[in-house]
């Protein structure tokens, strides 16, 4: 019998069940795109019938890091840039958990960029939502890794000399097997994409455009948006790596010209997840490791019997 009975319950859940009673109202600014992520995640969790207690939401630091303060499940609000290593280890320890990591563009593409690249490369079976508002919001408006070239802020008084990160391209190149972009102004698409991302076996990356009405007033409100999978103006196969790559490149280029493109950019259902790869080479047990510590019948191996002979 499992020690974790919340896992795999598959009961009916109303999206309001994920609202914490003690702190039902977020402290995000009025009009903030982060509300859109919260709403989409609640909707996705309800649609998937996930119990709040079979979910672990791991976040970084920033406005986005508060996601698990306002989403009622198991949560780990970590440190700046480190939501991914915590999330992927939790998934390795207990594959039954639905693990969602989240953070901002500074958190994920800047300070935690190394983790992002390697988590994608390894194709861990977790979902990563990046709140991309092209600004550092919580620290009051500094230029971020996704801010456009020339972006002026108190720390970049002459305008940024740097080209912005290309989050979608970076993700594809690093090895993510599901890459999508959505926007807070697009709640139905956002929810659907998060559902797909959670259901995907492997690393699913959702670059979530979240407008910042307080610190990034000049930036687009990400409307009107175009769904590249729906629009007749865009023709590409999102299971084809090179077509996906071209579509991503164009999407990243036109964002700063005022065209907001969204959709599913790359979907690879064939690539085994890291968990599967590691199981194949015998480096991950069949049963969830976390269960073993609650199994009174398990006979724990002794060093004396198992490893000492080679020292004799």
């Amino acid at each position: 019998m499992s020690a974790f009975s919340a896992i795999g319950e598959h009961a009916e859940h109303d999206r309001n069940e994920y609202t914490p009673g003690l702190e039902p109202q977020p402290t995000w600014c009025p009009g903030c795109g982060d509300f859109g992520v919260l709403k989409a995640l609640k909707g996705a969790a309800a649609e998937l019938g996930l119990s709040p207690e079979e979910m672990l939401v791991s976040t970084g630091i920033g406005c986005s890091g508060k996601l698990n303060s306002y989403f009622d499940s198991y949560g780990f609000h970590t440190i700046h840039g480190r939501s991914l290593p915590i999330a992927r280890a939790a998934k390795l320890a207990n594959p039954g958990l639905t693990v969602v990591a989240a953070g901002g563009d500074g958190d994920g593409y800047g300070i935690g960029g190394n983790h992002f690249m390697h988590t994608a490369r390894e194709n861990h079976d977790i979902t990563y939502i990046v709140f991309n508002n092209e600004i550092f919001g919580l620290t009051k408006g500094q230029t971020s890794p996704t801010s456009p070239k020339g972006h002026k802020s108190k720390t970049q008084p002459h305008g940024s000399a740097k080209d912005p990160i290309r989050p979608l391209s970076m993700s594809l190149n690093a090895g993510a097997s599901y890459v999508a972009r959505t926007a807070a102004v697009n709640p139905n698409q956002a929810k659907d994409i998060i559902v797909e991302a959670i259901e995907h076996d492997g690393f699913s990356h959702v670059d979530f455009l979240t407008q910042c009405p307080t610190w990034n007033k000049d930036a687009k409100q990400y409307v009107p948006y175009i769904d590249v999978n729906e629009s007749d103006d865009y023709e590409f196969d999102n299971t084809d790596r090179s077509e996906a790559s071209e579509m991503m490149f164009e999407t990243e280029n036109v964002l700063h010209e005022g065209t907001v493109l969204t959709g599913r950019y790359y979907v690879d259902e064939d690539r085994p997840s890291y968990q599967q790869e590691k199981q194949r080479i015998g480096e991950i047990p069949e049963e969830p490791l976390a269960e073993r510590y609650f199994d009174d019948d398990y006979e724990w191996e002794r060093v004396y019997d198992t490893f000492l002979d080679k020292h004799k």
């Binding site: 499992s2 020690a3 974790f4 009975s5 919340a6 896992i7 914490p20 009673g21 003690l22 702190e23 709040p52 207690e53 079979e54 672990l56 791991s58 630091i61 698990n68 303060s69 009622d72 499940s73 198991y74 949560g75 780990f76 609000h77 970590t78 440190i79 480190r82 290593p85 915590i86 999330a87 992927r88 280890a89 939790a90 390795l92 320890a93 207990n94 039954g96 190394n114 983790h115 390697h118 590691k278 480096e283 991950i284 047990p285 490791l289 976390a290 073993r292 510590y293 609650f294 398990y298 724990w300 191996e301 002794r302 060093v303 004396y304 198992t306 490893f307 000492l308 020292h311 004799k312």
Partner: protein
Amino acid sequence: MTDDELIWRIAGGSGDGIASTSQNFAKALMRAGLHVFTHRHYPSRIRGGHTYTEVRVSADNVKSRGDGYNFLLALGDSFARNPQENAYYGNEEVKPLSENLDELNEGGVIVYDSGLLDTDDIPNFDERVEENGWHVYDIDLRTIAREHGREVMRNTAGVAVTCAIAGIEPEVIKSLMDDTMPEKIFEPNMAVFDDAYETVLEEYDADAPDVSVPEGEHDEEQVLISGSDAIAYGALDEGCRFIAGYPMTPWTEVFTIMSQNLPEVGGISEQVEDEIAAAALALGASHAGVKAMSGSSGGGFALMSEPLGLAEMTETPVVLVEAMRAGPSTGMPTKPEQADLEHVLYTSQGDSHRVVFAPSDAVEAYKQTRRAFQIAYEYQIPSIVLYDQKNGGELQNVPASVFDEEPNADLGSVITEEELVDAPHDPSGKYNRFQHDVEDGVSPRSIPGQKGGRYLATGNEHMPAGHIAEDPDNRVNQVDRRMEKMEAIRADLDADEETNTHYGPEEAEYGIMTFGSQQGTVEEAVDRLNDDGHSVKMLGVSEMAPYPVEEVTEFVESVDEVLVVEMNASAQFRGLTQKELGRYGEKLSSLLKYNGNPFEPAEIVDGFVTSIVEDGTLPGHETKFVPAASD
């Protein structure tokens, strides 16, 4: 050095199999009933460079390197750079011979491979041989090896020559080689062995040198083990089934042993992108209900500072190991030092609260790693095992029965789903995982996936169910509770009374204090000092945090003066002791060494006599005396 022991030094180039040959030699003699202890010296270099391993062999227990050594086996350095007059490295080809002469004791033996080494390249070689009464054997080991097998087998030829000179039964070595080598390699090695062995008997007087291996017998089965082995085994016997790491010398040893062994017991090892990730993965696994560890050496451990603080704030149990090497920065990667003590005690922002053990040898490493896990999981706190390149890598024989212990996979203070039903929750149904008023400051944790256990773990200050809050009353309550755990742990450790080591006569006039890897050497020095008519005892401290204030106070009070021996330049252990005790600045002086080599027993004897007894200056320049405040 006593007369009845062999201190054998095998020297050559890095990459020439010096380590494995010496390990087999040590194990063979252990099997023959002797006590062995190894000391490694190797360069941080890709290929080549002067390297040696000493194997000290005695009929009695040995727990340190000796003073100098008495048998040199100088093999060639296959990767030596060409001799260059103005290059700082000079003539590397002869270094396996030339670099080792200063420490060779009078009357010692030199065996060198005349196929690779020419004594004409060494200034004043013949004069030095005569002055010191050394016995020289120039044997073309390379040719013997080539004749029966391959050139690398010159190590075997060298071991055979050692046996012939020191009177070691060939069978002692051969049976071990038989166990460890595939037949295809074993046969030519035997031919090399026999040829080299016979060459010595035929060409040299059998009775010439006064160097031989004593007779010995163990009264129980022994294993040859390193501190790194013991740390890994302690972790495995505590049910640790998850490790994450990034390679860095000398921590890589523990990481390697764990990575090789974990799949066999259904565990997971993760080599990750950096040490920040490594520590964070260990936290993630532990948070999800698996006993987990990570570790590194100084520079990598620096990257773990923030996850370490997160573990304290979220009360996530984790064990980190730190293998010290000479710093600052990249320092000397393959050389031991004990200068990261303050680093592991205080790194990470805020009021740190963590447990730090510094084991001295393999037996302590096994026991204290287990204790570190028990405390980490019981008290939901990070535990650190602090060791160094010396005690991580040196091999010694210990009774196999040390490891004849039951495993303990207890997750510590964890709540079950049944218990969660009646446990306190906040109004919205979150479990109060960080309750205010709990015994010893420990509030049982739930594990993700458990029904009724959801909560928020956060690096921010938080309320009982994890909600982020800056309310002053809650803040004080949570800080006090977390700090209270340290007092409870201190009381637990006091009840154990076996972690720190007292050695020497209880009524002694003087004291020596040390920590970690220098303890065995200090013990040997204490024996010699007492044999010479001095009155000295030792306290080897392993509990760095929480510090054993009572036990140390009692020790310091019981003697006239205390010499604190440690391998660093800033007397960190003495500083910690004075800080924790709040006094005794006038009573504690320091003997320091930080040249990249661990203390020899004689250096501690000399340091003690000249600085404490005679109040003079030290004879050598390798160690440094820092007087007490009143001197």
